[in-house]
């Protein structure tokens, strides 16, 4: 733009701001820092920040900001040119134990022991795809727009798949994940999580678990495909560096292996989830969700209505407290899905429509919730505090996947939104 700028950053984001300025070509950007947060502070407290010292430099804050705009540039600040960041040697040679430690110390793992990615293991992985090792699979960033995206090849994805303990049979699914560029470690202060729904015959070919304990630590394919996603999200885009490329305030245990959800198609009353996204039943597809986390569950006890529990009513009540920044992903045991079918919900769309119409909130409640924005557009100006409006303006905010082993009419709710569905077959 050619106009001098002085960024002010709260100190919690210092490392992120400095490294991101460097990655964007302004390593000497003149940043001034305030204590963190400014959110929720009184005017007097904020003025005290301005009249106090920058907590990083120790210098008076506002004179520093003014100086950032008026102090002549140094030669270094006027530099031009191009730099290629280093990523290290292509291989490392040491004992197995020392390599484990090296990978751990350099932030290349999820902090748990890995399978050492030897050439032999990577070659075996590469045989599971027809794609060439040097083909670029995609581009990934810890947060779209905030960080420059990295690229990566089929071989680099294979190295990460080996590290996670995946077998070659799982590799096309892992490549499909990588092809989307979706990081499982999205850098938000909200400690967000990712989910992937898997449909098609590949679920049985890989012997994935979609029955009892499907989302627990009981199946190699479910676990290692999810783990590979997390390890890729550290290594293929420079993500997962706490304070720099990962800012989740509390972190989230789901990030270890993510929500991998092979749908229980055979026990579902509805056509498979991926067919609602334009795919054929026989296609192998992976569909992605993103959002806060699983926030709630509802079992059989407490539903209490006979002869058929009003599952839809319970689902509406349970979703009501959700923030509306993301949608609602319901993970339904087949007992619940079939119960909903018995109640007349013959399609997922009919259930979504019912929930959209019957899950409502008052305008004043929406106003009181962060990330629960009011409807936009001209009608927003006419809304009164006591008006009742739909929780989400569109029915597609509600998504349903069937998973579980029918030991309990249970459903779990994730405050997550659908993103995209991609072919796994393309990567075989």
């Amino acid at each position: 733009m050619g106009i001098p700028a002085a960024p002010i950053v709260t100190i919690a984001f210092k490392d992120l701001a400095q490294s991101n300025c460097a990655k964007r070509g302004m390593p000497l950007q003149r940043i001034s820092y305030t204590p963190h947060p400014v959110w929720g502070k009184t005017d007097e407290q904020m003025m005290a920040y301005l009249e106090g010292n920058d907590p990083v430099s120790g210098k008076p804050f506002m004179p520093e900001v003014v100086g950032a705009l008026t102090r002549p540039l140094t030669a270094d600040e006027s530099k031009t040119g191009t730099v290629t960041p280093p990523t290290g040697a292509p291989t490392f040679t040491d004992t197995s134990d020392n390599l484990q430690q090296y990978f751990l110390d350099n932030g290349l793992t999820d902090t748990m022991p890995i399978i050492i990615p030897t050439q032999e293991r990577v070659d075996a992985m590469l045989k599971a795809t027809s794609h060439k090792p040097d083909e670029v699979v995609g581009h990934m960033t810890p947060a779209q727009g905030a960080f420059p995206a990295w690229s990566y090849t089929v071989q680099q994805v294979a190295v990460n798949a080996v590290m996670a303990g995946a077998t070659p049979d799982y590799f096309p699914t892992i490549l499909a994940i990588a092809s989307t560029g979706i990081s499982a470690l999205f850098s938000s202060t909200n400690s967000l999580v990712s989910a992937a729904v898997i449909n098609g015959p590949i679920r049985d070919k890989l012997q994935m678990n979609y029955g009892i304990g499907a989302m627990g630590p009981f199946n190699q394919a479910n676990a290692t495909i999810g783990r590979a996603w997390t390890i890729m999200s550290r290594n293929l885009d420079g993500g997962g560096i706490c304070g720099e490329t990962y800012m989740g305030s509390q972190g989230n245990v789901i990030n270890y292996s993510n929500l991998i959800i092979p749908e229980n198609e055979k026990d579902s009353p509805w056509p498979a989830f991926h067919t609602t996204k334009g795919f054929k039943p026989e296609e192998n597809v992976i569909s992605f969700f993103f959002g806060f986390l699983i926030t709630q569950g509802q079992g059989g006890r407490g539903l209490g209505v006979k002869p058929v529990p009003l599952y839809n009513v319970a689902m509406s009540a349970n979703v009501a407290p959700f923030a509306s920044l993301f949608g609602a992903l319901f993970l339904l045991d087949p007992l619940v899905a079939n119960g909903l079918g018995d109640l007349g919900f013959k399609t997922r769309d009919s259930l979504a429509d019912w929930l959209q119409k019957n899950t409502t909130v008052t305008v004043k409640d929406v106003k009181s919730m962060l990330f629960s924005g009011l409807p936009r557009g001209p009608e927003a100006a006419t809304l009164k505090d006591d008006d009742v409006i739909p929780k989400w303006p569109k029915a597609d905010a509600y998504q349903f996947v069937v998973i579980g082993g029918q030991t309990n009419p249970y459903h779990q709710l994730a405050n997550m939104s659908y993103r995209v569905s991609v072919s796994i077959d393309k990567w075989t």
């Binding site: 002085a6 460097a22 070509g25 947060p37 008026t70 197995s96 050492i116």
Partner: protein, 138 residues
């Protein structure tokens, strides 16, 4: 081999002073910490492949020429939309009124998400302003 800030900033010619901070200290500690497995006599050495992807090249961007003074100038106070930034910048405006009354401040909320560009606002600033103070964070 990791692309930490130290190696990156060093490549770009940044001051070591920029590296002061918790994350840099944690990185240093991670490398120094004990816990390496004791060497096993005769343990064979193996070759592991690097799992890293390919970062894009960095093009250095020269910073915009600074002003001689802010006296009589218009400074845009731009919020990236995070909670509290609007109230904070209002206080910045009050500070200028009290301490540098010849400076005119104009508050604007940048359109889009925190990382999105706002070409319309950029054009306005270029036409009507001489400097920008931007609040980033929570």
């Amino acid at each position: 081999m990791s692309i930490n800030r130290r190696s990156l900033l060093s490549l770009l010619g940044a001051s070591p002073a920029l590296l002061a901070g918790a994350a840099a200290a944690a990185q240093s500690k991670a490398k120094e910490k004990p816990g390496k497995a004791p060497p096993i006599a005769g343990a064979p050495k193996i070759v592991a492949l690097n799992p890293r992807g390919i970062p894009p090249p960095i093009t250095l961007v020269p910073m915009a020429k600074r002003l001689d003074t802010l006296d009589g100038k218009t400074v845009y106070l731009v919020s990236d939309g995070f909670p509290g930034a609007d109230h904070f910048l209002a206080q910045v405006g009050i500070w200028f009124q009290k301490n540098m009354p010849s400076v005119t401040t104009v508050y604007r909320l940048k359109a889009g998400g925190f990382a999105d560009d706002d070409p319309k606002l950029n054009a306005e600033i270029k036409e009507k302003g001489q400097a920008v103070i931007m609040a980033i964070g929570h």
